[in-house]
Structure formats: C-alpha cells, structure tokens
C-alpha cells in the first residue's frame, strides 16, 4: 500500500499532465441548458397559475412534479444522458437532474428484480441529497427557532 505522502505526491505529479477542462465553454453550455430548463419550468408554472388557480407560492410544487415526470421519461428514452453529456452541471443542478439520478439508478439495476434491483436502488444516488437536505434543514431550523424565541 502506498503511504499518504506518496499518494499526495502522485496526485501532484499527474495534475500537470491532466488536460484542463475548457472552463468558459463548459460554463456557457451549463448556463444555456440550465437556463432553458428553468424557462420551461417558468412556462409550466404559469400554466398552473392560469388554469388551476395556483398562486406564485404554491405553483412550485406541481411545476417540480411535472419536470420530474418529463425528466424521468427522457431518462427512460435515453435522451437525458445525451443532454447531460453536453450540458454538464446544466442538467445536474435543476431538479430534473434529481429525477435523472433516481430513474437511472433504478434502470441500471433492473436485471436484479423489482424489489432488490429497482426499489432498493431508487435512491442510491439521490439519497444523499435527501439526507443532507433533511439534516441541514433540521439543524438550521433548530438554530432559527432558538433565535426567534430568545429575542
């Protein structure tokens, strides 16, 4: 086994040989695709506000659910991964990326059966988001609650 120092030295050594990612181009792609997904979200939100009497605050929920449905379908069709290869973070950061993580993990393990394959692996990738989200919301919520009741 290599020691920690050796590992660090190796990481330093290969750093100079690794190809630099095209920062500006990647950012432009992420901006463009991420922006388009949010614009579609805005259109869906306005649709729910106009035809189903949702308010600005409550329209977020059905909008997110609709985007998740679209992203899950696109993942099943194999389209979302192609978008992801082009867009990088532009397809990861929107909530559609969350749906993609759920669906692709489930699809990947389909051969192991419905219970042990699909159902157990559904949150294999996306579970981290829920765990960190719930823990941080609990901690921040406690802090805010204490502050509100001290002052």
């Amino acid at each position: 086994m290599a020691t920690k120092e050796e590992q660090q030295a190796y990481a330093e050594k290969i750093k100079s040989i690794q190809p630099k990612p095209p920062y500006v181009l990647n950012c432009l792609k992420a901006f463009f695709i991420g922006g388009i997904i949010c614009t579609i979200g805005q259109a869906i939100q306005m649709f729910y506000m106009t035809y189903f009497n949702f308010t600005q605050e409550t329209a977020g929920n059905p909008t997110v659910a609709t985007l998740i449905l679209i992203a899950a379908l696109l993942t099943g069709l194999g389209v979302y991964d192609k978008i992801g290869q082009f867009a990088g973070a532009g397809s990861v950061v929107p909530v559609t990326g969350f749906a993609n993580a759920v669906t692709s993990a489930a699809l990947e393990h389909k051969s192991e059966g419905l219970v042990l394959g699909v159902a157990t692996n559904l949150f294999k990738l996306a579970g981290a988001v829920i765990v960190f989200g719930a823990v941080s919301a609990y901690v921040f919520g406690m802090i805010r609650y204490i502050f509100q009741h001290l002052t």
Binding site: A43, G60, P62, A137
Partner: protein, 116 residues
C-alpha cells in the same frame, strides 16, 4: 420578462455548479448535496424567498429550492407545534417532489429497458 430572469438566474446557478465541478473537481453528487445545504442556509437568512420573488422558476427549479422548501416546511410547522414541529414539517412542502420522483422513477424503470 419573467422568462428572461428565470433563464438568467437559473443559468447562473448552473454555472456555479459547473465551476464547482471543473475547478474544485467535485462529483455531480457532491455538487447537488452542497446546493441543497446552501439552499437551506440561504432560506435560514430569508434570502431565498427574495430570489424566488425575483426569478420565479429560475429559483424554484434548481435543486437549491429543495433545501429551501425543506426548511420552509419545518419552520411553518414549528410555528404551530413548537420545536417538535421542525421534524414534523420538514417534508411537508417537498412531498410532491419526492413522491413524484419515487412514482415516476419506479414506473419508468418498470416500463423502459436500460440503454447502453
């Protein structure tokens, strides 16, 4: 105009994620978990609500809004039930997102075959 700001703000949040992936060499999973924590943190200071008012879906569609909704549900329930309410309300606003992700993710995995 709403569409313009949704595009710009949503795109800008994705650029931050892209920079975290390229410059800090984080995996997509690390980026999304960081964004959820950042969203909850911004909501703790009341900043995220202003961003939603300004950018609409540009702020509600990125995963940061998941953290914001978690804390929002917790605080709304805490006003009714005291500090026990924090645990009761955490998933109140995000239940639509989580249940639809479970439902649609499961159905798609059952119907479609894995590609490649």
């Amino acid at each position: 105009m709403e569409f313009f700001w949704a595009f710009v703000v949503g795109g800008a949040i994705c650029v931050v994620g892209q920079l975290m992936m390229d410059v800090m060499k984080l995996t997509p999973a690390h980026v999304t978990t960081s964004f959820v924590v950042i969203g909850a943190l911004l909501d703790a200071f009341g900043i995220y609500d202003n961003l939603i008012k300004f950018a609409g879906a540009g702020a509600t569609v990125p995963i940061t809004s998941f953290g914001h909704s978690l804390l929002h549900g917790a605080m709304a329930s805490a006003e009714e039930h005291g500090f026990i309410g924090i645990a009761m309300g955490i998933f109140e606003l995000t239940s639509a997102g989580i249940s639809s992700a479970v439902l649609f993710g499961f159905l798609v995995a059952v119907i479609f075959e894995p590609k490649g």
